[in-house]
Symmetry: C2
Subunit: 300 residues, 2 copies
Amino acid sequence: MATARLFGKPIADALNAESRATVTGAGPGIPPPSLVSVHRGVDSPFRFYLRRQERAAAAVGLRFRDEALAPGAGPSDLLARLSELDRDPSVHAVLLEHPLPAPFDFYRAVGALRPEKDVDGVGTQNLGRLVAQRPIHAPAVARAALAIARHYGLPVEGERVVVVGRSETVGLPLSLLLAGKAEGIHATVTVAHSRTKDLRAALAGSRTIFSCVGHPGLLTRAVVPEGAHVIDVGLSSVPDPAQPGRSIAVGDADAASLDGWAGSLTPVPGGVGPVTVAELMASCVRAWQLLTAREATEAR
Amino acid sequence: MATARLFGKPIADALNAESRATVTGAGPGIPPPSLVSVHRGVDSPFRFYLRRQERAAAAVGLRFRDEALAPGAGPSDLLARLSELDRDPSVHAVLLEHPLPAPFDFYRAVGALRPEKDVDGVGTQNLGRLVAQRPIHAPAVARAALAIARHYGLPVEGERVVVVGRSETVGLPLSLLLAGKAEGIHATVTVAHSRTKDLRAALAGSRTIFSCVGHPGLLTRAVVPEGAHVIDVGLSSVPDPAQPGRSIAVGDADAASLDGWAGSLTPVPGGVGPVTVAELMASCVRAWQLLTAREATEAR
């Protein structure tokens, strides 16, 4: 039997419709959520995400702008600018390009934002709140992986699942969401990674696998248990075999190897990606709700 | 063959000697590290820890005092006091009783401390820094479990280990230390907990098990794989069968059941406990070093 493909679009569409309804339902005179995306302004993979953010923001009714750091701007300029955005009441949500090359210090920079405005949940305040089971924002890509597992009713609650990859922005936050109480998932979670001696043994017995490595071909039927479900969060760019000189996006799963073996599989592209952008927009809407509720309280 | 007992005392003694050498080596005129333990002042299990902290502080050369909240003091009084302690340059380390009953908000209160002074690493800043692989302080009990595994050379690096328990102050921080890069452990970590459907299956294949639940008798040879090593972080108080009316401390492991089955086992008491207090003192010394180094930099 062919392995079912778990597409992200229906989930993203439903989430975007919900976000749009929240924004338009706020009534006249209330400014919509505002997202500012801060980046280095040079040619980086982040540029690709900016266009997607812009399109999604338009679909949901958010104000969006991107801000490039001035050429030659250093860590203290970035810190000063993020502090300004943190104080600016017309800005509800800020994204910062990640990773940032030296001498920039990503965590120091993003630490200038109050956790409500750090909408991708990557600052240490938000990461710590994940551990403490009091999340404000969790990384959108981790939320997206969870949303897919929930939407398609994959076995996770109380089940053994594996997160492959231990990055601080994807693998570890996802493992905390899955294992924790705040999201009601309660999975028994294993985190495997590049230093795992025997990936096959680590995956044995797992019902659902979340792969967040960025290593094409990592997951084949040689390591994935038969019938396990695979949420492919990995994203790599490889040469397009059909069009020399162009590249295509691929995940961690070897789809040909897993077809007819895995229980189901999210495609790349078209799986986690679209849901991630929708989750990011939903976080912006939540930030706007939190911050405007606080303003209203303070004005009383 | 009888299962080896992994005692904490040699590790605690070595760590305390190291801390003491650092403190006494600072030279004349430099005030020693100062730890303030803040608690509700009523009869709580925390009182037991205060006496142990006081003794350990004396052994290492720290100034120690405990502060009870005034009767009737509320969350805002606690917040104000912690903010004062945060600003007080003569205080390097602050502990706050945990958990705190409502209406107190533990995370809000401990958030008044800069991460350097939150020596038990339980505030969201420090927990987030664990996720981000940039720790300042990690919970002493998690560090103690790790120190024991290291001292006795238990199989953890790249190996499959299980943390049983997902509390935000013990289980989750320990799993992050074990799985992460910052401590050089690189274990493949599974977090199991009360909602794990099949504990035996979750423990199968693990070489080292860290149990942090507080559920006496949880770990028996029915669930622990033969030969696995057990670090017993659990701590419960049960009636003493030998002396009616008195109670004794026990861990999560059923020592009688595991004897001759587990590869090794930390006793309770005498295992993780003494190392925890020594790790706490070491964190106070580190806080003092961090804060006095910063003062020296700022004075320049």
